[in-house]
């Protein structure tokens, strides 16, 4: 019985110990509740919201690009796409088969659809086909009953009405690639397109706008339950460029099948009216995504449609460099306005012969006549006496030798050589003969067509330092004057007038008169290979008999009207043959059209 008492006592003692343990466990649980629900509550509230709130970005509309007359150069057009929502289709395969009867699907497309269907939950719309025409949309809607689960969705596509004509300026948009800087959540959206070249790239930030934010509540399976809040985005800004689409089109067409570039400037403001590079590419194809085939044909084309020749092509200027050599000679006192030189067809420096393009020689020539006939001997003499450093200094004043930075990618700076450059580059002193070669715009001298247009505008406007731009210039009064004597410029301009308007001028054949207005210009033909002694002896080979890539580049710089210039133009035709025969006629067409339309005088329509 004593033991039984002990038995009872132990039971009481032990059960009280155990009760204590239980209280301890329950306290531990309350402590844990405190830790999770009070101490860590904020962390878990954030996690809970991350769980349930799905943020979607609403795409802003990209800004529209206009020309100076409010002609649309780049815009957004509706893009209809057919989507399938698997859970709304009783039988996905049946729906797809019915769709194929209306509109054929390629095997690759079908595979992609099936893959997307497998990868996504059944309520996620999967793209079947996009860029549907109105007729196709109507057809799908007509057969809606046989197509359960198919919905038509409307998006926006970038569209360029002028296609390849404007492509070198406007550029194109395409999907964001790995290498793009992702400074905006918009860029993370699959299928979002950004400017990849041209103005589209240059003004990307302005054109893009800001994405809106849509906050949705989703359940654990990702299904949208309700909309929580919507923040409106900002559409991209519209942009007006100085281009005149009519002139651009005219200029583009004037090239025909030729490869080259043309830049038309307002001589007083530097506004770019036309900016052509041919051949070009269709930016609309880029926006929709190129096939490998299309890409290869662009890449392998020997005329380089993807190269913007106006700024990325560097060429020897040839004879169009002569006006600057003339100014340098006059400033250096190497020649006087009335200096005459005798051209015998060739001259010697030491025992090295230098040839004029005219083998029989021009005889005695004044400066104006030398420009008119583009006599090489006259400019050999002038360059020899002036020296390369002076020539280089004048050339730079007129905009050569350095990139202008008009905003398009990969602009080249050209090259204006001088003695220091040669020493630094080759470790050799400058040779006199090299000055002669530079005097006719060959040798080391390299320019871009855009630089030639700037040079022409600066000569034409009486020595104002205009800079080319795609954006309207409101105030021209702050454009600086170049340090150049009026008389010197006038002599050069007389020469350029004679080139076109005096019989015997190298571009005489391209002269025109419109409303008593004429054009002045200067031809240039640039050898792309050395003329051998044998060829000189056997006589001139006709350019058209040479393979295309061995023909001379044809250049023509011009402005109009000759007496009171408004428009400056540079035309370069790659391997065109002769400046007078190929480039000048193209220039004449463009300038005449400029005078007819005269956009600079009808400027009121430019509104920012």
């Amino acid at each position: 019985m004593n033991r039984d008492n002990d038995k009872g006592k132990i039971l009481i003692k032990r059960s009280l110990i155990m009760a204590g343990c239980k209280v301890f466990v329950l306290l531990l649980i309350i402590l844990r509740l405190y830790y999770l629900q009070v101490y860590q509550a904020d962390k878990f509230k954030t996690l809970a919201d991350e769980n349930r709130i799905s943020t979607r970005i609403l795409l802003p509309q990209r800004g529209i690009i206009y020309d100076r007359n409010h002609e649309i150069l780049a815009t957004n057009i509706q893009n209809f796409q057919a989507l399938i929502v698997a859970e709304q289709a009783p039988n996905v395969q049946e729906t797809l088969d019915a769709f194929k009867k209306i509109m054929p699907l390629s095997e690759a497309e079908e595979e992609r659809i099936k893959r997307d269907l497998k990868r996504n939950r059944s309520f996620v719309p999967i793209k079947i086909k996009d860029n549907l025409t109105w007729e196709e949309v109507a057809k799908i809607q007509l057969h809606a009953e046989d197509l359960p689960g198919i919905i038509i969705d409307e998006g926006l596509n970038r569209y360029y009405p002028y296609a390849e004509i404007m492509a070198p300026v406007i550029g194109y948009v395409a999907s964001v690639s790995e290498s793009d800087v992702k400074d905006d959540p918009l860029l993370e959206i699959p299928g979002f397109k950004i400017g990849k070249s041209g103005i589209e790239k240059f003004l990307e930030q302005k054109l893009r706008g800001k994405g809106g934010i849509l906050k949705l509540e989703v359940n654990a399976y990702g299904r949208v339950m309700k909309e929580i809040e919507e923040t409106e985005g900002v559409h991209g800004e519209n942009v007006v460029l100085t281009l005149d689409a009519r002139l651009q089109q005219k200029a583009y067409e004037a090239f025909g099948d030729e490869s080259g570039a043309a830049i038309l400037l307002d001589v007083n403001s530097g506004e770019i009216l036309a900016f052509v590079s041919t051949p070009s590419f269709d930016p609309n194809a880029f926006t929709q995504g190129l096939s490998q085939e299309q890409w290869n044909s662009l890449i392998n084309n020997e005329r380089h449609p993807l190269t913007n020749k106006a700024i990325q092509g560097q060429y020897s200027p040839g004879s169009v460099f002569k006006p600057l050599v003339a100014i340098a000679g006059l400033e250096a006192g190497a020649i006087k306005p009335d200096t005459r030189h005798f051209c015998a067809g060739k001259m010697f420096v030491g025992d090295h012969p230098f040839h004029c393009w005219k083998r029989v020689g021009h005889g005695y020539l004044s400066l104006v006549e030398a420009l008119q006939h583009s006599c090489d001997i006259y400019f050999y003499e002038t360059a020899q006496r002036t020296g390369i450093d002076k020539i280089a200094e004048v050339a730079r004043r007129f905009g050569l030798g350095k990139a202008i930075n008009i905003g398009l990618e990969n602009e080249k700076s050209g090259l204006i050589p001088d003695k220091d450059w040669k020493l630094a580059r080759y470790g050799e002193p400058w040779q006199v003969g090299e000055s002669l070669i530079a005097g006719i715009g060959q040798g080391y001298v390299l320019v871009t067509p855009l630089q030639l247009a700037v040079m022409t505008a600066r000569i034409a406007n009486g020595g104002y330092e205009v800079t080319p731009t795609f954006f309207p210039v409101k105030n021209t009064s702050n454009i600086k004057k170049i340090n150049v004597a009026k008389e010197h410029l006038n002599i050069v301009k007389d020469g350029m007038y004679a080139v076109v308007n005096v019989p015997g001028g190298t571009a005489w054949a391209s002269q025109f008169v419109y409303n008593d207005q004429r054009m002045s210009g200067k031809t240039g033909s640039v050898q792309v290979r050395r003329i051998s002694l044998k060829e000189r002896q056997t006589g001139v080979i006709q350019q058209k008999d040479l393979p295309w890539k061995y023909r001379d580049h044809a250049i023509f710089i011009a402005y109009a009207p000759a007496d009171k210039p408004k428009y400056a133009l540079a035309v370069l035709v790659e391997h065109g043959g002769g400046g007078s025969s190929v480039a000048a006629p193209i220039a004449a067409k463009i300038l005449k059209e400029s005078l007819i339309l005269d956009p600079v005088s009808h400027n009121k329509s430019i509104v920012q």
Partner: protein
């Protein structure tokens, strides 16, 4: 106040009326509060609907109250007399389930009686308490303290626990073992034997690990590191903590628990109902539920202390411990303190068998209380 035990002589039979008057109404009230909370939460779990869970649960609770009253009114001496019969009957059912379970596919834990499914493992939780209580009631302290005397009791525990674990139902099996260990502890088995058992368990751990099913191993590993598999097994623990933690002090409000209603929280009407409750009612609600449970457990102890029979004391402590294990394992599990084992929160989680077995054990506890003055020997 009418105090029947003072007028009736000790050791004699109580009338039905006397028994009813002696029910601890506070105890029943706490049980009803928890059941009501459970029904309200099931209403919320169905996004504010009586179907499919809340109404069923209400009906089960009603049946459960009947079961509780039935056991409350049984004379405790009958429980003592039939304790072994009940135990062996339940053990037989467990074996039947084990055999048919192998015939059927995979884990079958119940016997289908048509209108309800009987889970012998649930019954065993009660049967083992009654059987051990009877065994120790009849043993002397000497027997209890001797290895030979404790051996039959060990067998009585290990056989059903083993059967349940190989079903496989690790959670229930462990609960059986824990409950039994608690009884061994309170009746006075020496502490060094528990220490020995503990050392033995640690040594056996690697062997036991080898016997665990893959999903059981997964649960343990996932508990140790939930981020191991955030979309798979770890998902439950992570989502439970997010839902619970985001509830804060006062909760998101009735029917407004985003994580549970958007289905981020799995099993919100069964094992994880406490998480949902904590999300909607915050720490205030969560602690309230713990406090009510504390009261129920405290009353269980007071029943044990007031009982004048050794059998009654052990039964009360055993069943209360069983209930405590349900509550603590479930809450610790959803709070990420222990691995996810399939243990529901009694009275609140949706589920018929647990409701009925737990109400039966409450009934027996009440019976211990009602018969607290009845003394009886070792028979």
């Amino acid at each position: 106040m009418y105090k029947p035990y003072e007028t009736t002589f000790r050791g004699q039979k109580l009338s039905i009326k006397e028994k009813l008057m002696n029910i601890s109404f506070c105890y029943v009230l706490f049980i009803c509060i928890l059941a009501a909370i459970g029904i309200v939460m099931l209403y919320s779990a169905a996004n504010g609907s009586w179907r499919p869970w809340a109404l069923n649960q209400l009906m089960r609770f009603a049946v459960g109250v009947g079961v509780m009253l039935f056991f409350a009114l049984i004379d405790i001496r009958l429980l003592l007399r039939y304790a072994y019969l009940f135990y062996f009957g339940t053990l037989f059912l467990l074996i039947v389930v084990e055999i048919t379970g192998h015939v059927g596919m995979g884990a079958q834990r119940w016997i289908n009686f048509g209108f309800f499914k009987l889970q012998p493992s649930e019954l065993m939780k009660i049967a083992i308490v009654l059987a051990l209580a009877r065994y120790f009631h009849t043993s002397s302290l000497q027997t209890i303290e001797s290895i030979k005397g404790i051996f039959p009791a060990l067998i009585m525990v290990l056989v059903p626990a083993g059967l349940v674990i190989i079903q496989p139902d690790l959670g229930t099996g462990l609960m059986l073992l824990f409950t039994a260990t608690a009884i061994f502890f309170v009746v006075g088995v020496q502490l060094w034997k528990f220490a020995l058992l503990g050392v033995g368990a640690i040594i056996c751990m690697p062997i036991a690990w080898a016997f665990l099913r893959d999903y059981q191993k997964d649960r343990v590993l996932t508990f140790l590191n939930p981020e191991r598999d955030p979309l798979g097994a770890g998902y439950h623990i992570i989502q439970s903590k997010i839902a619970l933690g985001s509830g804060g002090v006062f909760g998101k409000g009735f029917l407004k628990g985003t994580q549970s209603h958007l289905n981020f929280l799995p099993e919100k009407h069964t094992d994880f109902i406490y998480t949902m409750l904590s999300e909607e009612w915050g720490m205030v609600g969560a602690v309230f539920v713990i406090l009510i449970n504390f009261c129920i457990i405290a009353y269980g102890y007071s029943f044990a202390l007031k009982s004048s029979s050794y059998f009654g004391k052990v039964v009360a402590i055993g069943l209360t411990t069983n209930y405590f294990l349900y509550v603590s394992i479930n809450t610790a599990m959803v709070l990420g303190l222990i691995p996810v084992v399939g243990i529901p929160l009694p009275l609140i989680s949706y589920g018929g068998t647990v409701m009925l077995s737990i109400m039966a054990s409450f009934g027996i506890l009440l019976s211990v209380y009602i018969n607290r003055h009845i003394q009886f020997g070792k028979e």
